[in-house]
């Protein structure tokens, strides 16, 4: 299903700081609906902070201050109730964080938390979308903690899909997985294309190339380059982007240049 090119999230002049430390220094970005947008960049460039400000998880840190505007379908997210915002924007974390309960209860946790009924159909559909159903269909009532790391991460995706969000944020979801599990995870990300808007943060540029439609390269809290993935990878406008993609060391000063 090819969606028309509508922007689901629009970010303008977003600034995020912790105390007197600026993590994100003015980002403008339009995130296309139904597409996978990858955010790459070296450690500490602010990509995770940027991602966490999109579902207002940054607010859990008292010292965090956010300026600028972010809209979801034209609605200002900072004017929305954070709980209902997070029901529309799901998140998968770097480390698999299944809840200490059964596979089934994990998947249906969000549904029940939002006041819905956790049906068998939702359970199966979510697990299928996360490409996990075949592996866990016989152990739905076992503790989620008995699954392997890769399975746990796909369970977290299924848990997120079960509440039918519009947008799914992924913070280095393959960060703690082995290569095989990473491939399976990427398969479930590719399966989401079209139906969900995915924003994925990764420091693995090849992963960004494999799964994403759009790529943003961040350095020192700024977006240095943003465009179609093949454009960014094959004909980047900035030299610093080409350096980074080629595996050369990049310095923070290059972000301003």
């Amino acid at each position: 299903m090819e969606l028309e090119m509508s922007n689901v999230i629009e970010v303008e002049k977003l600034q995020v700081s912790y105390g007197d430390q600026d993590a994100v220094q003015g980002i403008d970005m339009k995130i296309a609906g139904g597409k996978v947008t990858a955010i790459i960049g070296p450690s500490g460039c602010g990509k995770t902070t940027f991602l966490r400000s999109l579902n207002r998880l940054t607010e859990l840190n008292e010292k965090c201050r956010v300026h600028g505007s972010v809209t979801l379908d034209g609605e200002d997210i900072f004017a929305m109730d954070p709980v209902s915002l997070r029901r529309r924007i799901g998140m998968v974390f770097q480390k698999p964080n299944p809840f200490p309960m059964s596979v089934k209860d994990n998947v249906l946790y969000g549904v029940k938390a939002q006041g819905g009924r956790g049906t068998r159909a939702i359970l199966e559909e979510s697990l299928r979308k996360a490409v996990l159903w075949d592996e866990v269909k016989d152990r739905l009532f076992s503790s989620a903690l008995t699954l392997s790391g890769g399975q746990q991460q796909r369970l977290c995706i299924a848990r997120c899909l079960a509440v039918a969000p519009e947008v799914i944020l992924m913070d280095e979801p393959a960060g703690s997985l082995d290569p095989g599990a990473t491939l399976q995870l990427e398969a479930s990300i590719l399966a989401m294309k079209g139906a969900y808007t995915v924003v994925i943060v990764t420091h693995d540029v090849q992963e960004a190339r494999r799964v994403s439609d759009y790529t943003a390269f961040m350095l020192s809290g700024r977006v240095v380059e943003f465009g179609r993935t093949e454009d960014v990878f094959e004909s980047a406008a900035k030299e610093v982007t080409r350096d980074y993609l080629a595996g050369r060391l990049v310095t923070a000063a290059a972000a301003v240049a």
């Binding site: 809840f99 200490p100 309960m101 076992s142 503790s143 903690l145 008995t146």
Partner: protein, 451 residues
Amino acid sequence: MRTTEARTFAVPAAGRLSLERPLSGATAGGGLLAIAAGLASLADNGAEALALPVLALMLMVSLGDISYVWFENRTFDRSAAAIAGASIAGALLLLVMPEYLYGREINGIIHRSLFASAVLIAVGVPASITGVQRVLGGAPSARDVARYPIVLLPVIVALAAYALLMERLVSDGAGKLSWDLLTTSYTEEVTDAGFVYEAGLRNHILGTLMLIGLTSAISIPPGVGAGIFVSEYRGPLAHIIRFSTTMLRAISVFIIGVVAFSLVDAASGSAPGDPISDFIRGYYSDANGFKHAAKGSFLLAAVFLSLLVIPVIARSTEEGLRSVPRDIREGSIALGATEGHGLRRILLPWAMPNVITGLLLGAAEAAGSVAVLLFIAGTGQYGVGPLKEATSLSFVIFETKYGPKPFQDAMGSYEFSAALLLLIITLGLTVGALVIKQRFITRYRGSLAGD
């Protein structure tokens, strides 16, 4: 720096008689003998006579050890030397020490046997452990030997103290326990012939359970609530609540007892049958059906005991909630779960083992506390119920020496039986709480066992 191993000869040279194992066995045996002698002299002053022969034996064994290692290996066995040195030093100490030490501030005398047992245990613990370790094929270093007494001495002393206590409770208390005693209520009556009384612990046992149950029921909601508030909500009010629960803990138990009594005193104006009087003072009915006010009700006692228990539960709940991993908290929030839902489904189940620990500590407090009951509890002749006169096993122990004369006459010889029963109840509570706690840990914090 780690000392080099003195013993490196795992395989003795062919055709030579190895004394390795016999000597290690002797060290182990001597050490165990020293511990036994030490415990004996802790229990009985006369047993201190064992100290010098046992220390001499240890000295000879260690000297044999040292010379054997020297001739085999040309190395110096430092751990054996340490034991030999400790034996000599200990023996010298005991030889120059007078039999009794008089303390200026102590209203009594300390016998030399206390020091004898300390010396024997201090020598015996490292000797027996190194000996056993060597017999089993290990090679303890001098540093290990130096560590054993520090690690194990407190354990041994605590176990010995516990054993002595149990011995006293069982020998003086268990023999007097009978089914009759457990199922009879204590009664006293004034007749023409004087006091007629019947001994019994039924109401005191049930009363202890009643106090534990009522106190737990009263203190869980505010305790858990305060713990949640302090852990989950920031701001001045959370600080105030935390500070006041801590301060509540610092109030002398005796003062809580006095305040409870002042309530009783204030209620003495209202007649029995009036709710104020019944709730605070409790009541009993005499043979003719007349209602009389009692000294203080179980409910009153439980309310004031819960002042001691609430801070414990609050603190342990708070610790349990703080131990929930951050990524699990965030996972719940990111799914659009409200704070309340996350609290019910994830945070509280996770914190449950801590809550249970707090409750257990609190219940033991409720069962064992006498000071709160001091002015408001009675002898337990009027039955058990929330509005009946408070009493408990711990209060019995106190009353057998300081209570009314008829109670002392009837129950004076049962203080150890009451203590033993109290111990059994708290032990049962502990075991039960551990089982439930483990279930929660397996269920809600995950375990390798899985399913």
